[in-house]
Symmetry: C2
Subunit: 200 residues, 2 copies
DNA sequence: ATAACAAAACGCAACGTCACGTTATTGATT
DNA sequence: AATCAATAACGTGACGTTGCGTTTTGTTAT
């Protein structure tokens, strides 16, 4: 790229300011939540002008979306040998961010604001969710290849069932998702075994 | 109740104004969506003062929540003789409001705003969701009684799986839920049969 | 020279509250 | 029976506040 060689004239953008904004936004997100997070508050804490923030991001929702994106950019699940364990690992990876108490509200909050703009919806969907689905497909495919699921299994449907439960419990109702829940989910999705009440 | 007998002095609250506000809010919700819905806009269309709105509801989210509550106040599912059909009927009843294109965003939007206030969260949960869960428990219990599910089935878990898929697809990603999807869901939850790809 | 920077101010939109005069109902007084 | 406070919700309109996204100004780094 010639962009890197021929540096632009004038003062270059400060990566330091960029990172300070992200850090400040992350902190404030954890402290006050998405609804009470303001651009002006972020600028003040980052020691940065609002102008600088708007030079990098076009809205509060977009800024928050970038923060939310990172922990969700899921790497591949290593093959443990047991496809069921791989699925469980994938579930835990999805759930993990929800354990941060600010994450769920911020996720739904950002999604909600981005929905005001009809094209922001697609942007969010593409940016946040596409990586997860690819990872999920790969994991379920291992189960199909191992013969644990029929060859013509509707994998995307299973991904929606899985994601649905996790989002519903974790992000919407903010209930913790336990190891027990993971076990029940794998049993239901792969083996078709209904969940049993835990003898407490 | 003595409240009804001994009416308060002064001008009584206008049920007409109350209903006009609800109607106007419902219209505007369908026209501009939750995010762009304003109290002032509702007041203007209803021909009502903002004060009157705040006399009945304490926030936009609370007002919208009342609108959302009505279609969800689920009646009992009649016993068709086939518990599986009862479950399918329950699923269709949950999905039905999502066919209104404004409903899903309004649901997530109102929920999100109510979460800013930590006690509004409980209010929403109690008001919107409790009825659905009772209905769902009854339907799954019929399956248990009929021997289609083990006696110690964790019914609440199944309700979460079911609700999760429906909310995830219908309210969050705004995808239509087809008869095919209903069939797959019943097969998975009750019979443990994985969903198959539809030969299109 | 040029462009990103921080700071500060702008206009805008919506918020929630308030004071005002009006209207509807109740309870006491004629 | 008719009248008249007292009361309370009404619609209107204006208020100050907040946060937005933009614009301006002077400074700093390349």
């Amino acid at each position: 790229m010639t962009d890197e060689q021929r540096r632009r004239r004038g003062r270059p953008r400060s990566e330091q300011a960029h990172d300070a904004v992200l850090a400040a936004a992350r902190e404030l997100l954890a402290e006050v939540g998405y609804a009470r997070l303001t651009i002006e508050g972020v600028a003040a804490r980052a020691g940065v002008g609002k102008t600088t923030i708007y030079r990098w991001w076009s809205s509060k929702a977009e800024l928050v979306a970038e923060i939310l994106y990172r922990p969700i950019s899921i790497e591949e699940i290593p093959e443990s040998g047991s496809p069921r364990d791989d699925l469980a690992a994938n579930i835990r990876l999805i759930v993990e961010p929800f354990t941060d108490p600010w994450y769920g509200p911020a996720l739904t909050g950002a999604r909600n604001d981005l929905n005001a703009d009809p094209e922001g919806q697609k942007a969010f969907q593409a940016q946040i969710m596409s990586g997860r689905r690819d990872t999920g497909r790969a994991v379920f495919q291992r189960l199909v290849d191992a013969g644990d699921l029929p060859p013509d299994t509707d994998v995307d449907y299973l991904i929606d069932v899985m994601s649905g439960l996790l989002v519903y419990r974790g992000a919407i109702w903010r209930q913790p998702i336990t190891e027990e829940d993971v076990r029940k989910l794998v049993a239901l999705l792969v083996d078709g075994r209904p969940p049993r009440r835990t003898p407490s």
